[in-house]
């Protein structure tokens, strides 16, 4: 268990050792040694900040290629809701889906449909349950991992439903099996992902044993091919699609809007999320009902594996999710109540596993020894210049002192020593 830890990956050949990523990482997971950046994998929450700031594009994400489709008899693509924001608001998404199919998929299932279903579920859970407040959204896996690592006292506040991606995967697989009689292992379900965090939550999910998804393909890796194929599309089907509410989940605040709570806080950007989680831990936001925290600026439209500029994508999503005059798509899954009941009853939605805190910041399991190590850190820190210059390859003087005590670095790494 737990071998696969994160999906952000570094291309050593491209890395110039500039330390941009190291300074930006919110969990101090990056060190630069011998002019190359390294990620301490247990600490990485896959927020993608390092991918965004890397000037030489050395930071990337582990994703799958279309070759993996060959392993299955029937393949379904689940485009992340942000895909809506990667095309102009006038584009017929049905045509986009046809383009996706021409890349080798047998069907396409909109993640936004699951967002619609989840809106109903979460709304009910908030109404009926005596959950600890504020209830924290489980949507962004980078934020979930951040909570595990740095805010584990808030684990009980996380709403115990799966993400829209996972729910969509389960429904899509289930429908294909019922409709065509395939076995589970014959159906391949692939997420078109805007971020590495989602990739990790497929390979190493939180809250459930195994993901129903079989792989993830980065949106920016297949966008060009989709556009190319769209030119050759001859006939266009009408696909089941999300409502404007579901589409709205691609930008920050969309979830909160769709579950219709008055007292919510919706925050984007990992640093901002950290600040709000600090406040929640201090009990300062007990009056807030729902907290929607998304690691990327703008929400998933700001995911590092998208193509469109996050602000433009956000405005496209806003248009699609608020425009009453647009043709309103309603999938039968969403509108027919018995369908919703079916997917609720069959545990398509709820978590089955507890989330455990990750004590990766702990200096030693024995508190006595941990105290001694902490004292040593303070001693070393007294002796370092306190400039946080980063030349030693650690993001701060404190981080270097910590590395020394953990046995990963030497005080001599400091250029002032």
């Amino acid at each position: 268990m737990g071998k696969y830890i994160h999906s952000v990956l570094l291309n050593e050949d491209k890395c110039i050792g500039c330390t941009h990523c190291m300074r930006r990482c919110p969990t101090e997971a990056i060190r630069v040694r011998n002019k190359k950046a390294h990620i301490i994998k247990e600490r990485c929450v896959d927020c993608g900040e390092c991918i965004r700031v890397c000037p030489s594009h050395a930071q990337d994400s582990i994703t799958d290629s279309l070759d993996k489709l060959k392993e299955f008899k029937y393949n379904i693509a689940i485009p992340g809701i942000t895909l809506y924001g990667q095309f102009s608001s006038k584009t017929d998404m049905n045509k986009v889906y046809e383009g996706i199919k021409m890349l080798g998929f047998d069907d396409v299932f909109d993640e936004g449909i699951a967002a619609d279903i989840l809106s109903v579920t979460i709304k009910d859970m908030i109404k009926n349950n005596n959950l600890p407040k504020p209830i924290i959204s489980s949507f962004c896996p980078a934020v979930l991992r951040l909570i595990q690592v740095r805010f584990s006292s808030l684990i009980d506040n996380i709403i115990t439903v799966e993400s829209a991606m996972e729910v969509a995967g389960r429904i899509a697989k289930d429908m294909a099996m019922k409709k065509y009689g395939y076995k589970k292992e014959e159906v391949g379900v692939f997420y078109l992902t805007p971020c590495p965090a989602k990739v990790t939550s497929i390979k190493n999910p939180i809250g459930i044993k195994d993901s129903s998804l079989d792989g993830a393909i980065a949106i920016n890796k297949i966008y060009g091919e989709i556009v190319k194929k769209m030119k050759d599309v001859e006939s266009i089907c009408e696909y089941e699609r999300a409502t404007p509410n579901g589409i709205g989940w691609a930008r920050v605040g969309g979830q909160s809007y769709s579950i219709d709570v008055d007292n919510y806080i919706a925050v984007d950007g990992i640093e901002n999320v950290i600040n709000i989680l600090e406040e929640i831990e201090l009990g300062k936001l007990d009056g807030v009902v729902f907290f929607e925290g998304l690691a990327c600026i703008g929400g998933c439209v700001g995911g590092p594996l998208n193509v469109e500029n996050p602000f433009i994508a956000k405005s496209i999503i806003r248009e699609l999710s608020t425009k009453a005059t647009e043709k309103e798509y309603k999938s039968s899954i969403y509108t027919e109540d018995e369908h919703i009941d079916y997917y609720l009853k069959n545990e398509f939605i709820n978590w089955t596993e507890n989330i455990e805190p990750k004590g990766i910041l702990t200096l030693d399991d024995d508190i006595q020894k941990a105290i001694e190590k902490f004292e040593k850190i303070e001693e070393i820190l007294d002796f370092l210049p306190g400039l946080d210059c980063g030349s030693c390859g650690a993001p701060t003087c404190r981080a270097l002192a910590e590395d020394v005590v953990r046995g990963f670095a030497n005080v001599e790494d400091c250029i002032f020593k």
Partner: protein, 142 residues
């Protein structure tokens, strides 16, 4: 019994809202490094934060001393006055003398002291009009 102790000291300035919360968040990081249970850390952070804010809002400044041993977290908040006239009243939920401008910042619910008492295992407050206020709190780890 052990000899290992961590002692930290934080200077808290009167009316300094910009740095308010630094002591508690710094302490929280330290406790995380020690691998202390997150629920306990949360309690310690809440009581420290409340003590910190009371010094910022109601006093002429002071200090917070944190001592951690394998058995216990001890937090002492000590200020330079002006002290509390009626301690029983101050300890009541909802009692507050916070001025309006401070209430607009979200403080002044009169819940700070009651919450400190609620979240720690031992709570002691010493104060009288014209003197310093000293709050002594302990949270046991075992």
């Amino acid at each position: 019994m052990s000899h290992s102790l961590i002692k930290l000291e934080y200077e808290i300035l009167e009316n300094d809202f910009s740095r308010a919360g630094e002591a508690s968040s710094n302490m929280k990081k330290m406790l995380t490094h020690l691998g202390i249970n997150s629920k306990i850390i949360r309690k310690a952070a809440i009581v420290t934060y409340e003590a910190e804010m009371n010094i910022v809002i109601h006093s002429k400044g002071g200090k917070i001393f944190v001592t951690v041993s394998p058995e216990c977290i001890e937090i002492v908040a000590k200020d330079k006055g002006p002290g509390i006239k009626d301690l029983d009243l101050a300890m009541q939920e909802g009692y507050s003398t916070a001025p309006n401008d401070v209430r607009e910042l979200g403080f002044g619910a009169g819940m700070g002291l009651p919450n400190m008492r609620k979240f720690c295992d031992d709570f002691e407050i010493l104060s009288s009009e014209g003197n310093e206020t000293c709050v002594n709190m302990k949270i046991y780890l075992k």
